[in-house]
């Protein structure tokens, strides 16, 4: 008898090398049962490599990874029926319809009582159930992929960049499906490079950069511990205002021609800055004060501008 493990996923000192490239560098983390865990990182940070090792389709160079208490390098046969996977850039057979595709995967898992209608409903594909895969839009394809990842009623669901390449509307529709999944209490391992997505869906976020986990916690914790400041934006200011703020010891950053951004520690500082500008006779049209979001935390932690970089330098 094996005792039921407390964690759905345990990763200990995991390292993966491709020749000279160190894709994953000695990372350790765990995922609790029933939580949505997001792996947040830029392209090439090592997200997919890590997730594919946990899914048993890549082998680690070193370290120990267990899924539902089983070693992923030894128990593939036992693990596979208990997980569901939406791979990156999910694709399927062109000429097979939505319903047929779900049926096919359900047969591969040997599930007699897959609730195919329920899955179609969950993924909001009812009107498209007779459509062939090649005729689906990107968002519909991803939603079908999510439905397929659930055919075997898995205990852990892996979603590798479920909304990459989708337009904002399609992205929101996928999020709706994922929120439905979260309500069902499934353990979800999500990789993404969209901060908004992690902030909206995840209970725990791990920020990965260059193969290393550089921060981990709930989105609120991450913001709290890494960005205990307020982001003040002064709109339509003149050059003089910028100098004034600088003299006061802050570090204003030009946002565009007329706006400047200032990080301030306390709400009092906002008042002080406004007064100083007023006294000097400089002008400010409007201002905006808000708490930082995950994006700012991410940028601060990874230290480089977060943008779409080259795709992962990992052999397929």
């Amino acid at each position: 008898m094996t005792t039921e493990p407390e964690h759905a996923i345990d990763v200990e000192k995991l390292t993966k090398r491709y020749g000279d490239l160190l894709a994953v560098n000695d990372i350790t983390f765990n995922v609790r049962k029933g939580e949505v865990f997001a792996f947040l990182g830029a392209n090439g940070a090592g997200k997919t490599t890590t997730v594919e090792i946990i899914e048993t389709i890549r082998t680690p160079t070193s370290g120990k990874v267990s899924l539902l208490g089983m070693d992923v390098t030894k128990k593939k046969r036992d693990i596979v029926p208990r997980i569901g996977v939406l791979p990156q850039e999910f694709s399927s057979f062109d000429r097979i319809t939505v319903r047929e595709t779900i049926q096919y995967y359900s047969r591969l898992f040997g599930c007699r009582n897959t609730d195919i209608d329920g899955l179609i409903e969950l993924a909001d594909l009812k009107e498209k159930s007779k459509e062939q895969f090649k005729n689906l839009s990107g968002g519909l394809k991803q939603r079908l992929g999510i439905a397929i990842a659930l055919v075997n009623d898995p205990e852990v669901v892996f979603l590798d960049e479920p909304t990459t390449g989708l337009d904002p509307r399609a992205r929101r529709e996928v999020w709706e499906v994922l929120l439905g999944l979260k309500k069902k209490g499934k353990t979800v391992f999500l990789t993404t490079h969209y901060m908004e997505e992690a902030e909206l869906l995840a209970d725990t976020v791990a920020i990965i950069s260059k193969g290393k986990i550089i921060a981990m916690g709930s989105p609120e914790e991450l913001i709290e511990s890494n960005a205990n400041y307020l982001a003040l934006t002064l709109k339509s200011v003149d050059e003089k205002a910028c100098e004034i703020v600088q003299k006061m010891g802050f570090e204003p950053v030009h946002d565009n021609h007329t706006n400047i951004k200032v990080r301030v520690e306390h709400a009092d500082d906002v008042k002080k800055i406004l007064n100083a500008i007023k006294e000097a006779g400089a002008s400010v049209l409007s201002l905006d004060v808000r708490k930082p979001n995950l994006e700012e935390v991410f940028l601060k932690l990874t230290g480089d501008a977060f943008r779409e970089g080259p795709s992962e330098g990992v052999p397929e």
Binding site: E52, E55, T56, I57, R58, T59, R77, V80, P81, I83, V85, P87, Q88, E89, F90, S91, S92, F93, D94, R95, I96, E100, Y104, Y105, R107, L108, F109, G110, Q132, G145, I148, P315, E316
Partner: protein, 371 residues
Amino acid sequence: MSPRVIGANLVVSIKSFYREKSAMFFTIAFPIILILVFGTIFMNQDNGSFDLYVQDLDQTNSSAQLVKTLQLNGRFKITKVDPAINATQYAKDNKLNLVLVIPGGYERSLVQRMAFRDPNASVAVTYIYDSSSSSTSTKMQILQSVFGVVNQGMSGQPPFIRSAETSILTKKYRFIEFFVPGIIAMSVMTSSLSGAVNVNAELRQKGVIRKLSTTPITRTDWILSNILYQFILAVISTIAILLVSYAVFHVSLQINAWLLWFIVLEVFAFAGLGMILTRVAKEAESAAAAANAIMFPMMFLSGSFFPLEMMPGFLQTFARILPLYYVNEGLRASMVVVDNITALRYSAIIGVFATVVFVLGILTTKWEEGK
């Protein structure tokens, strides 16, 4: 091995095939078109019935007798030309490649020779012909041989050299019967080779294989499903080819277990080759190009379309290292000549090739994402 998984894969493959009209065309219609085109061309040669225009200027019983002799030879469909018109002009106007003219005085000369033993009595028939036409010389040769027999008979001596025919075939076969097994072998090769390449390269490139590797399907199940599907396609296209051959050309072929056995071996051999190609060529397009580079020379050099004797010696030797050659010859041995020993020998050769290639194919097909 899981019959449930293999069944699920077959359903998907067959539905995709049915919905992909161009795949249907290349698997079924293409070999049928080849059979129809080549069959029609060769049919005319086989029947050997040539048109012959004859102008009889003598208009006697004897000259009519000569025309009848030509007719009885069986190789000619004779059309008579009015003696009143200019035969050369007539040939030109009607684009005829040969008009035989029997001169006036034919009967008189014949009587002179037969009754009066006059050695100087003879007739000269005229060939009005077009030397650019390919069948002219064949027709003239046949005419010469008919006249030779007539001349020899008039000499009163029995012929010295006689000929006796012994065909090595138990029955008289036509070119179409040689051709049909070649087309079957060719279409099974193209569908298994390009099928294996498409399935493996395209689905891998699209990432479908990556998704499949996270399901309980094993590499063995996947490969077996594909082989079984290729086999079903091969049987479908073979049936289509045979139906057309029987219906249109009334071929006479032996359909026996050898046919099925050769198809099985060929599917394994070329699907295995396809799997290796997919591994060697990383992109789907280059794998398909490599498959074509193998298929086209093989089609023409291994005797699918024409007998190897028509090729220069070094190419004939080269043909013997091509696997398709052994399928062609094995199928002909079993379907045309019904030579079980030869069929067995060729099936052994292709069987060894299929085993080696297929095992290599399995070993090189990557399933997991990698080490």
